[in-house]
Assembly symmetry: C2
Homo-oligomer: 249 residues x 2
């Protein structure tokens, strides 16, 4: 398996054509897309192309945001945006606000990003509107333009309970399974596999993050070649644990 | 970055020399080790080499194990082993027992494995005694025999709160950081990076798991070439979140 962060991806602006930017990056790497390739695209450049930058000055915090901002010691305008982007609060503490995002997952600060945003402090970046749909769109456009049947993962970084440090997660997928279900497959001794559901999209996102790096916004698209994944139409929602199966809600 | 699961690794037996087995695998791949390579070794083959197989018939469940086994609907002998391998119970429910392992992390069933074990049902496999120490030993032996300065990750599979499917985690490391601390590095616009601690060892373990596969015990060693990691003497304990910083204990 070969992992390559594509060179030459420019800073993305609202309205940019990500499909063309990806194709240019593949060409800049001296490659062409092949069926079976996987492209991992950071949520950040999708947000930027979608114009999900918000000017903080234009945010009017409501009463709940003011109260919560005081409790957790955050900017009330950012808390207002977090609440707008979330279905529910999972945990709060000083400097920490963990919510269930409207996209379903549980994460800190609703994934609102203040790094690698021009004029930071005045602007923040919200997560993409519908990363599964964007992944499908990119996949279809790439197929139309190159003939290659590729998988797409839209990646983000999440902290997690129990363990230090962020890891890559998939918040959108197309053309591959988000969860790889190995149930029923025999192990080497004919017994059913004990561990049988893999967080496949998340592991692909983590792989890309090893080479793209948090600071390297110049490398937001990673090509994974040689991963023998089953063709399937997954959704990142397959990675969301149902509350009734979650002992840590 | 290039990821290759080494071919030709035999089924490991108690007392086997893993360093020689790894060197044979590298040679079988037509390669030789280079400084900067990372080898990801599954905990399972380390456990096997250490003779961590336990015959269930020889396990005498105590009173606590009997009571808990009834509550969670598990074999009391396995519950006895889980308790012996753990410091504390984190959560319990029908068919689920999540504990804080003696190695520090929180995981299901204390990592006790019944798959890919000969005569399953009669034998189970405990996690390695000290995976950090084993990683250091393998690293030093490889350096002594080949001159190459390589990083080692001992990998396991963990489920997690919120999300479906297991992902790779590092339970032992040597020669590389388990957590990559990017704090203080500027982003593209000169602001400090927002997300600044990466679960580096876990992401390396997840990368290897994409190609080794749960069922493929014939591929328990993965070579990662071309990852530009900082040389450092990490420990997998760096990945353990302190309870006071964990809102989900």
């Amino acid at each position: 398996m070969n992992i390559l962060s594509l060179p030459g991806i420019p800073l993305v602006q609202p309205g940019d054509n990500l499909v063309q930017i990806i194709l240019d990056g593949v060409q800049a790497a001296g490659l062409s897309l092949q069926s079976g390739d996987v492209l991992v695209v950071t949520s950040k450049i999708i947000s930027k192309a979608e114009g999900r930058l918000v000017r903080l000055d234009a945010v009017e915090p409501g009463e709940e945001a003011h109260k919560l901002a005081e409790e957790v010691n955050k900017d009330p305008r950012i808390v207002e945006l977090i609440l707008q982007e979330s279905h529910a609060i999972s945990r709060q503490a000083r400097n920490v606000l963990v919510t269930q995002h409207r996209l379903g997952f549980i994460s800190a600060n609703a994934g609102i990003d203040q790094s690698n945003v021009p004029q930071s402090g005045e602007y923040v970046l919200l997560l993409p509107l519908d990363p599964d749909a964007t992944a499908r769109h990119i996949r279809e456009q790439l197929r139309a333009q190159t003939g290659a049947d590729v998988g797409i993962v839209v990646s983000d970084s999440h902290g997690r309970p129990f363990r230090v440090g962020t890891v890559g997660v998939a918040i959108g997928v197309a053309g591959l399974p988000a969860v790889l279900d190995l149930r029923g497959q025999p192990d080497l001794f004919g017994r059913e596999l004990h561990i049988s559901m893999q967080g496949y999209g998340d592991m692909i996102a983590s792989t890309a993050q090893l080479v793209s790096g948090e600071g390297a916004e110049g490398r937001p698209v990673t090509l994974v070649r040689g991963l023998p994944y089953p063709r399937s139409d997954g959704t990142a929602r397959d990675l969301l644990r149902a509350p009734e199966n979650d002992l840590y809600r």
